[in-house]
């Protein structure tokens, strides 16, 4: 559905901006009212060890003595200026701490995505091309079992096997490239089984397609068709899935960063919940909402670029 008086691209952009605005407003509002429902927000904001004087200070600073609608408006106003308050742990601006933690998370996410794609694409394409092979059935069974592994369990088992038993790589830290291996594999284990299944489904569907019959008729070998014609199409599905799984990827980051003491937003979030550092929790939630939404947008755009057939349609729901 397009607003007729706007050019399509601009209308698209406006709609996206409105969606992101709604998501942000929704999450902020939920956190705001929960904080007030949960008891004395000053006590939550100031932390469990606050003195009565500190509580008074917080009440004044956050305007907690004002009526609720006034508080809400004021709170939105502060957030609009990117004022998330200061961390209770060290009085640094919450948003600064959060932004400082993002690069480590992005790095881990990047390495994990690379690992995921390197494993799942070839495997998925091969599985799709060999639906009846004995080995393929075995691999499919293995993937079914792997899908039953919660990510944090996989991460713990990886540490146990490769760091403790075999002593091949360090168990935690962020220093040298050797410490990057296990966390990347652990985050990848969240995404890979799903991606393999999706690529496989895409490939077997494509093999039924008309262009495959044309290629067969023109004398191309099955192998050439699979890897030369069908595989590039499967890439499209991969892009879509990775975009749609960005939210899930963040879950992986939270857990894996905690296990490996990786200094990203996931570790910061868990640390902040232990000492109820509310300004930081809130800043993380908001930046994550924005980031995940942008990744979805980007994957949509890439998909449109790769497949002009989608470009004419409205956005997929």
């Amino acid at each position: 559905m397009r607003t007729s008086w706007l050019p399509p691209r601009l209308a698209q952009l406006t709609r996206r901006a409105r969606e992101l605005g709604l998501l942000l407003l929704g999450s902020i509002t939920v956190l705001f009212f929960l904080l007030r429902l949960a008891g004395d927000p000053a006590a939550v904001i100031a932390g469990p060890d606050a003195t009565p004087e500190q509580l008074e200070l917080v009440r004044a600073e956050y305007g907690l003595d004002q009526p609720l609608p006034v508080q809400y408006a004021r709170y939105l106003g502060q957030l609009a200026q990117l004022d998330f308050g200061t961390s209770l742990a060290d009085d640094a601006p919450a948003i600064d701490k959060v932004l400082a933690a993002w690069p480590a998370s992005l790095m881990l996410a990047g390495m994990a995505l690379l690992t995921t794609v390197l494993v799942s694409l070839p495997l998925g394409i091969w599985l799709g091309g060999h639906p009846r092979a004995r080995l393929a059935r075995l691999v499919r069974g293995g993937i079914f079992v792997l899908q039953g592994f919660p990510g944090f369990v996989t991460a713990l088992l990886l540490v146990q096997l490769f760091a403790i038993q075999l002593e091949l790589v360090p168990a935690l830290g962020f220093g040298t490239p050797a410490t990057w291996i296990l966390p990347s594999i652990a985050v990848a284990s969240f995404l890979a089984p799903k991606l393999v299944r999706l690529v496989e489904a895409n490939v077997s569907a494509s093999l039924e397609g008309a262009y495959v019959r044309t290629a067969q008729a023109s004398g191309l070998s099955d192998r050439a068709i699979l890897w030369g014609q069908v595989a590039p199409n499967a890439l499209l599905g991969a892009v879509a899935l990775i975009g749609a799984q960005a939210a899930f990827l963040v879950t992986g980051l939270v857990i894996v960063e905690t296990i490996f003491a990786w200094p990203g937003i996931g570790l910061l979030l868990v640390q902040s919940t232990t000492n109820l550092d509310f300004p930081v929790i809130q800043a993380i939630t908001i930046t994550v909402v924005v980031a995940v939404y942008l990744v979805n947008l980007l994957s949509d755009a890439v998909q449109r670029l790769l497949d002009p057939r989608i470009a004419g349609q409205g956005s997929p729901a």
Partner: protein, 277 residues
Amino acid sequence: MTAAVSPRPAALRADRLTVGLAALGVFVLLALFGPMIAPRDPQLVDLDARLLAPLAGGHPLGTDQLGRDLLSRLLEGLRWSLAVSASATALAVTVGTTLGLIGARSTGLVASAVRQITSLAQSFPVFVLAVSIIAITGNGFTSVVLTLGLVTWPVFSRVVLAEASSILQREYVLAASMMQMSEVRLMLRHVLPGLVPSLAVLFAFHFADMLIAESALSFLGIGAPLGASTWGAILNDSRAYLLTGPWLLLVPAMLVVALVITFNLIGDGIRQRVAAG
């Protein structure tokens, strides 16, 4: 794994559901009679029996770093896991189906909000929101169940929206609608039954997701009351004893995986049955 046997007879295929339900039955019995099966009080600290390997000193699965009996703790954790996941899934399916039906039928503000939330929910980091919400509302059964249920209902409304809209176009529904059947009766008599197969499949997979989410939360020390014997908490404790007590990791890890696979089997099994007609 029977996966290597080439063309499998249909009877064997359908068995996923049977295997899954049988495994679930075992887990439910273990949860129900856990307190009777448990060799000791799961919280009983025995510093002389720290980190005993399985079978040592009358502890079938060994003991943890405080000498607590691992089998007893795991049985208690199973009750928590199943109770939280069942309640959260039930909440999500109820809210998601109700709102999905409203969204499919009505044109009001609520309906359009439901459609909007449903379409955006996939690109929303619900786990991070759940962590933040539980951090604010505090630990405990109610807090975890409400949070998990209320942040995940769009999983169900997505399917209900899609399928209910198509059912609503069918002739018998249009006929019923023209005969001025009440909206609620129309939904309950004619639309909901058509949704049951999809909802059943989704319910099983969502149950597995809730198990994973709950154990991940308690692994991070969020949600379960402090000191509770949840599988996540036991796994978190195990990290300090990977060398001296690897069973503290391996036994609960196997159980979590087995329980999740149980629900995946049930979900796949129902889906196969539905597809087979």
